[in-house]
Every structure is written in structure tokens, then in C-alpha cells.
């Protein structure tokens, strides 16, 4: 992955709570075998509504999504992150996230950022009022910046470090192979082996 230190872009607002991954991408599109090419599947049912914010031509270039609470709740499908990313979303800002979605997002370089409700509200009204309003997420400083607003956010050290340095998660863990092998030597003798019975 390319290193990513910050992202700036225009935004759109979807202030609905509990937006689940079945809405972000319905299961029927999770039959594909690829990791990309999901731009046509994003919010498939809601896209049928011409008024839906993702159909607003003024927002087509937006790369920041200002969401509500518990965004990405539900299934573990990473396709939800792929669909957002393929449509052009690089940042999702919300008051809380589905656990697995949050983890999947950072693993794909999509910045999921949790901010207090008052800050999200302020951002949402500024973005709603102005399609050219730019939001910046600084991974290095762990800060969201926009005109008249700066707010810090928290992110686990490992995904931040991987992203800032463009490192491969698996390669980093494989660098600890000796430790893993050492651990394996002490595993309980009764633990099951698949195919053994």
C-alpha cells in the first residue's frame, strides 16, 4: 500500500443511524471474487431514489462521508468498505461505528474517524450548506480540520503506523515468525486438528 499521511476532499452527509452493511452493499453483490469494481453496488437500494444524497451531481466528487451513529453495523463483509472506496469515499466520519467495519476500513486505507456528536453536527451542517466545503483528515497528527474547526481523534497505533509507512500488515506479522513458532510449541496438547478425526 502507498503511505497515506492525510486526505482532503469535499464531503456529503448521510445522517442516518445504524446504517448496516446490508444497505451499503446487498448480499447479492458479495458473490464476486474480486476486491475492486464495486462502485455500482454502493447503497444499491437507496440509489434508486433520485433524491438520495449519493445521487446529487454536486456531490459526485465528494470523498468524505459524514455519517451518524453505528455506521457499518452488521455483517463482516469487507465489500462494504470496497464499495465505498470504489465509489470514491476515502474518509467516513461518524459518532460510532460497527466494530468489524471500523477495522476493515482502516485495513483498506479508508479513514474511519470517530468524533463527538456536537462536532459531527457542526461538520454536517457546514457540508450540507456548501458542496465545496473541504474536510481534511490528518493521520499523522490524528486531527480533523476544516474551515473554523479542528478536532483530534483516536486511532490504534498499529493501523496508523502501517498506513503512515505504507507497510503490509501480514509482512509485519510474519517478521515475528519466531515468536509465533515459539508460542505454538506451548499450545495445549488436546486442541483439535481439523481432519484428524
Amino acid at each position: 500500500m502507498e503511505p497515506l499521511t492525510e486526505h482532503s476532499g469535499t464531503a456529503l452527509v448521510l445522517r442516518r443511524g445504524d446504517v448496516d452493511t446490508d444497505q451499503i452493499i446487498p448480499a447479492e453483490f458479495c458473490k464476486r471474487l474480486t476486491k475492486s469494481g464495486y462502485e455500482d453496488t454502493l447503497f444499491h437500494a437507496w440509489m434508486q431514489d433520485p433524491e438520495f444524497v449519493f445521487n446529487d451531481p454536486a456531490r459526485r466528487q465528494a470523498s468524505v462521508l459524514v455519517a451518524g451513529h453505528n455506521f457499518g453495523t452488521g455483517s463482516s463483509r469487507e465489500h462494504a468498505v470496497w464499495a465505498l472506496r470504489d465509489w470514491g469515499i476515502r474518509v467516513v466520519i461518524g459518532t460510532s461505528f460497527g466494530d468489524i467495519f471500523f477495522r476493515n476500513a482502516w485495513k483498506n486505507g479508508v479513514l474511519a474517524v470517530q468524533l463527538p456528536e456536537s462536532v459531527v453536527d457542526t461538520l454536517a451542517s457546514k457540508v450540507d450548506a456548501d458542496p465545496s466545503f473541504v474536510v481534511t483528515v490528518d493521520v499523522e497528527a490524528c486531527e480533523v480540520r476544516a474551515s473554523g474547526l479542528t478536532h483530534g481523534f483516536q486511532i490504534d497505533k498499529r493501523p496508523r503506523w502501517l498506513l503512515l509507512n505504507g507497510l503490509d500488515d501480514i509482512a509485519v506479522t510474519l517478521g515475528r515468525d519466531e515468536l509465533i513458532t515459539g508460542f505454538e510449541a506451548g499450545r495445549k496438547p488436546w486442541l483439535p486438528r481439523v481432519g484428524a478425526a
Binding site: S96, I100, D156
Partner: protein, 463 residues
């Protein structure tokens, strides 16, 4: 003094370094066709191999048809084919469609004895939380993590907070594990346990069978938790004894000693505690489009104006999608379909509970009912008991095993804006079909509902 959660976590830490998440060893990796193809691809592209194929079990479940052994959908068929190729290439055992061990991944793992107390279990599937019923630390991950576990047999993870859910009081007759978990989620909300691992506690939990415990832990994810766990006890050990992959002989004795040490120590503390009084509970049903939007079946569709802020907007949207009016009695809601199955309620006990209600009765005219066993083993056990005959005599369809109507990935789907009483775990918009209107219920309520054609409890059939 440590909690069950802390004990299992600590025993799997490969590396704990300052300022880093813990590197956790994974004892069992479950795989299905829908979340794995891109992970195997990634492995191949990087020239890597599965590190421990013998700690990995693959099952075909999401795409499989439940009325035939032939997958006709070309995309679904390709996905299943990809799994077969990937497993052959990496030396991973696969239970294919047609194998008598095939079924839904979260039903198959435990019934083969692969899931044991104190283990870490992951799967590219959110309902991996099911396996916490054994006192295992089990959680769902995305495809990137599936690849990470295939390659390294570990995951780097920050330890979540701990949350005790204490169920107090006696469970009233007619209240099932599904009702307990729906009542909890209604109480704390669909994100109420975010960032936590839950331990379910109390006499009501101790009295549950393993099947009931699995139903509860299964829906931990619907409460927003990373995982849900229950301390292993005599019920757990009796379930495991003599399962095909459970330890034998002296290893069983050693395992048992360790398993008995896992329960939360008296006096150990949790980051958060929630109490649910079960003594006044009655059967629950969802009215909305997230699992937290649930009420007692005896009550009415709530009025959005009784909620605050974003909850109100969510309730309004949900009622519009569900085509419901506030104040309507849940009991008056007519159903087009009834689905019994899924990794939440597709086990033998669930089928027994439904069959008990349906025995000598008929599915109401105009109602389509599917009964889909959680695994082929469950199907076989049910047939030995003659449950299939009860279902078929009532007019229900008796199917092969798979995820079926739980989510719209195979041919079993709700057509159009039909209303369905479903024993699965998610009532999201479109989950069971493009415009499907889902009401989540227990197997007993599903069966009673099939008989009357309206949401009903078994007790309603007696009058």
C-alpha cells in the same frame, strides 16, 4: 482475580508490546465461500501459504440451494468452485454441498467438537460470536483479517473492554433464549455493547442448553459487541464428551481440568455491568429494521414520537419501510412467510420446539413456511425423531441445509414486499429479499405464527 474473557485472552497472547495491539494466536479458523476468495487470492499473489491448514475448516453454506444439490446461479457456483480450488491448493478440509457433515459454518464447528472452551476462534463472518457459548473467544473479521490469519495464524488486536450481562430472576414458561437476547438488545440498543466483549451470566444462563447458549452468543453482534461468552460448565462438558474431535482419554481429563479453571473468579471486575430482569419477560418480536427495535409480542407497534432525536427519525423510517402504523397490535400482523433456520435457530432443539407447536396442526392457508436445518447432521437427527414428518404434514417445506433465507445470497428469498416471521438474526431493510419485511422471533413463535397466519405465541393456540 480475572474474568473468563481475560483468562482466554491472556492465554493466547503471542506478543504484548507497549503501544501495540496484542498479537493473538488463533486456535480455529472457520472459512466459508463468501468472505474468503479475495483472501486466498491475496495469499497467492504474495506467494504465501496457509500456515496451519489443520487449524482451518471450510464449509459451503451461504450460496447453497436448500432444495437441490445443484447450484444453478452462475456467480454463486463460481464462488463455491473458488473455495474448492483454494482449499485443495492449501490443504484445507472442506465440507462440500452433499457431504453429510455440511451445514452452516457456525452449526457445523460445534457439532463436530471443533469448538472447545478456552479456544480462540475466528471466521470471516460476524456471527462467529456463536462459539462463545463454549467459553471460547470467538469473533468475526473481514477478508483482510482472514488473509492475515491464513498466513500467520494470528491477529493483532487491541483488547476490548469487558461487560457483564447479568440475567436475574426465574425465566417464565414460554420464554426462550431468543427472547432473552432480543430483550437485552431492545434494552441496550443495537450498538449498546460496542467496544466490549460480553460475558452472559446468571442462573437463567446456567440453566440453558448449549443450543440455547449458542442462540444467545450468536446475537452478541446484534448488540454491537465484538464477542459474547458464557463460562464453560457441566452442560458444556456433557455436550462435548465423545464428539468426533473432542479430546479422548487422558487428554480429556487434562482438558477438563483446564476448562474448569476458566470461569470468572469471584470478585473479578468488569468494565461495565448491565442487569436484565427476566422474571417478567414474555416472547419478543422486532417491529423495525434493526434488532434493537423489538417489543413484547403482546404489545403494539410503538409511536415514533415517544423516542428522542435520531431514534425518532430511525423509527419513522423503519415504520415506513415496514408499512406499519403506530398502535397496531403486534398480534394483528398477518404474515406471508415463516422461516425456521439460520445459525441463530437452526439447531435440533429449535426444530423440536417448532415441531412441538406444529404437531397435529396445519400451516395457515396463504402462508409459506420453510424449515431449514442448520446442518445435515441436524437434518438427520430431526428425521430420526420424525420431526420432518410433523413439518411436512403441517404443510411446511423440509429443506437441505444452508444459510437459506437468512440473507439474500441464494434462491431462498422473500419476493416483493412480503411480511415474514423469521428465526434468523437480522431484520435489516432488504436482508431477506429486496423489499422483505422481517419480524425476528423464536422458533416456537414462528411455528405458532405459521398456524394462525398472524404473529402468535404457542399459548395463543391453546385458547
Amino acid at each position: 482475580m480475572r474474568t473468563l474473557i481475560e483468562k482466554v485472552w491472556t492465554d493466547h497472547v503471542v506478543l504484548a508490546a507497549e503501544g501495540e495491539p496484542d498479537l493473538l494466536y488463533i486456535d480455529l479458523h472457520l472459512v466459508h465461500e463468501a468472505s474468503s476468495p479475495q483472501a486466498f487470492d491475496g495469499l497467492r499473489l504474495a506467494g504465501r501459504q496457509a500456515r496451519r491448514p489443520e487449524l482451518t475448516l471450510a464449509v459451503e453454506d451461504h450460496n447453497v440451494p436448500t432444495n437441490t444439490l445443484v447450484i444453478t446461479d452462475p456467480m454463486g457456483s463460481k464462488q463455491v468452485q473458488a473455495l474448492r480450488t483454494n482449499c485443495a491448493e492449501q490443504g484445507i478440509e472442506l465440507f462440500q454441498l452433499g457431504d453429510d457433515r455440511q451445514g452452516i459454518v457456525h452449526v457445523v464447528g460445534p457439532e463436530r467438537g471443533y469448538v472447545q472452551p478456552g479456544m480462540t476462534v475466528i471466521c470471516g463472518d460476524s456471527h462467529t460470536s456463536t462459539h462463545g457459548a463454549f467459553g471460547a473467544l470467538a469473533f468475526g473479521v473481514g477478508t483482510s483479517d482472514v488473509e492475515h490469519v491464513l498466513a500467520t495464524q494470528t491477529l493483532a488486536l487491541v483488547r476490548p473492554k469487558t461487560m457483564a450481562v447479568e440475567f436475574t430472576g426465574e425465566v417464565p414458561a414460554g420464554v426462550t433464549p431468543k427472547d432473552l437476547i432480543l430483550a437485552l438488545i431492545a434494552q441496550i440498543g443495537a450498538n449498546g455493547a460496542n467496544g466490549h466483549i460480553i460475558e452472559y451470566r446468571g442462573q437463567a444462563i446456567e440453566q440453558l442448553s448449549m443450543e440455547g447458549r449458542m442462540t444467545m452468543c450468536n446475537m452478541s453482534i446484534e448488540a454491537g459487541a465484538r464477542a459474547g461468552m458464557i463460562a464453560p460448565d457441566e452442560t458444556t462438558f456433557a455436550y462435548l464428551k465423545d464428539r468426533p474431535n473432542a479430546p479422548q482419554g487422558s487428554l480429556w481429563d487434562q482438558a477438563l481440568e483446564y476448562w474448569r479453571s476458566l470461569a470468572t473468579d469471584p470478585g473479578a471486575t468488569f468494565d461495565r455491568t448491565v442487569t436484565v430482569d427476566v422474571s417478567t419477560l414474555t416472547p419478543y418480536v422486532t417491529w423495525g429494521t434493526n434488532p434493537g427495535q423489538a417489543v413484547p409480542l403482546s404489545s403494539v407497534v410503538p409511536d415514533p414520537s415517544t423516542f428522542d432525536g435520531t431514534e425518532r427519525a430511525a423509527a419513522e423510517r423503519a415504520l415506513a419501510y415496514m408499512a406499519l402504523e403506530p398502535g397496531t397490535r403486534m398480534r394483528d400482523l398477518p404474515m406471508d412467510m415463516v422461516f425456521i433456520g439460520s445459525c441463530t435457530n437452526g439447531r435440533i432443539e429449535d426444530l423440536r420446539a417448532a415441531a412441538d407447536v406444529l404437531r397435529g396442526r396445519k400451516v395457515a392457508e396463504g402462508v409459506t413456511m420453510l424449515v431449514v436445518p442448520g446442518s445435515m447432521q441436524v437434518r438427520q437427527a430431526a428425521e430420526i425423531e420424525g420431526l420432518n414428518e410433523i413439518f411436512e404434514a403441517a404443510g411446511a417445506q423440509w429443506r437441505l441445509s444452508g444459510c437459506s433465507m437468512c440473507m439474500g445470497m441464494n434462491a431462498d428469498r422473500v419476493q416483493g414486499p412480503q411480511r415474514i416471521a423469521s428465526t434468523s438474526n437480522r431484520n435489516y431493510e432488504g436482508r431477506q429479499g429486496a423489499q422483505a419485511r422481517t419480524h425476528l422471533v423464536s422458533p416456537a413463535v414462528a411455528a405458532a405464527t405459521a398456524v394462525t397466519g398472524r404473529l402468535s405465541t404457542p399459548a395463543d393456540l391453546e385458547h
